[in-house]
Amino acid sequence: MSRPRVNIAVTGLNAVDSPGPGVPVIRGLHEALSFEANVTGLAYEALEPGIYMDGLVNKSYLIPYPTEGIDSLRDRLLYIHQKEHLDVIIPNFDAELFSFMKLAPELEQHGIHMFLPTLDQFEERQKANLSAFGKKHGIDVPESLTIHSLSELEKTVKSMDFPLMIKGRYYEAYIAHTLEQAKGYYAKISAKWGVPVIVQKFVKGTELNVTGLGDGSGQTIAAVAMRKQFITDKGKAWAGITINDPDLLKITRNFISSTHWRGAFELEIMKSDNGKCYLMEINPRIPAWVYLAIATGQNIPEALVNLALGKPVSPYESYEVGKLFIRYSYDMIVERNNFEQLSVNGEFKQI
């Protein structure tokens, strides 16, 4: 029986040292059994490697950065839709999700489907709100406070023991061992990412991750746990291994059933030396290591597309434990003409 063809646009083609999830997501789409994926790449920069990789996307388009506003993104997406007749879009960056969530109802009217968290879910799990989130949903989160000024920082750290984590609201985190260090990191982070800055109790332990998919009604469709085996200086997993830690999977199922999470996600969990799990962060999107989940039996991108299209999806029940991913870098040789087409016209079709 032939599979239906689905036109899917995917962002996050920047397979660089801090990689976007687009390339592994597309690999999963091409391995889908329930449909044949015709993939369009959506890129912010002409040098995103996924644009030029063989057999990955049929055509790529440049799209405007979120800072240019929702209107220009809408116009660009509708232009691409005219040409590619998109059925589904999978946005893969934290910073773009808000714009796509805002545009979702309008895109739906044009026949473009997405399967994203609700705006409430997106806001509730923000780093600055994580403490309240943990209390509400019965999940252990390290004690944390949001800080808006240096004087507030000085006052706050008096009631907490060093070391402390000083975190930006979107990116960056540092361990501070003294008040002076904490002030330095506060200045650095607030200058780059604005306030609030989050001061969080440091938890010593092992960094573990879970990627999964919730169907929006509280049901877990997919959940795969991984231990980072090699971490880059940017804190990204460059190698990892699937594990079967019942505590992690229990937290994940609780998280989904309690929040009725809609869409893909990644939980960052620290398991302390005494075996207690702390939820450190919730990323409301597919992570860059998702191909490990696909290769071990849970094709999250495929399930996500089917949910977006309103098709019934059976939950995955298991995955292969003890399988590793090891990332590598690879130099592609690209014809100048291809780079030129994308740079000048904002679009490029693979031959």
Binding site: T206, L208, M226, R227, I241, I243, N244, D245, V321, G322
Partner: protein, 84 residues
């Protein structure tokens, strides 16, 4: 207290150990593999000790000390638990 290998530990004849709960992996020498296999079979410490003495022709005191060191190491890496 009798040591017992924790559930689901993967142990290969090559000496590679994988703990599927934590994701940690280790390597042990052939003697270690032998001891771990004995633990997997549910053998008591004294039985393992007797076998070590016979197989490697060492005195009981030496074997006891080495086995204790090895079991402590396994406990440190959370590969065994002790049954009362």
């Amino acid at each position: 207290m009798e040591p017992s290998l924790i559930k689901d530990i993967a142990l290969s004849d090559s000496g590679f150990i994988f703990n599927p709960v934590t994701g940690e992996s280790f390597t042990v020498n052939p003697i270690g593999v032998g001891i771990l296999n004995q633990l997997r079979l549910g053998k008591a410490r004294q039985e393992i000790l007797d076998q070590l003495v016979v197989e490697f022709q060492v005195d009981l005191e030496q074997a006891e000390r080495d086995l204790m060191d090895f079991l402590n190491l396994l406990k440190h890496f959370r590969l065994v638990s002790s049954n009362e």
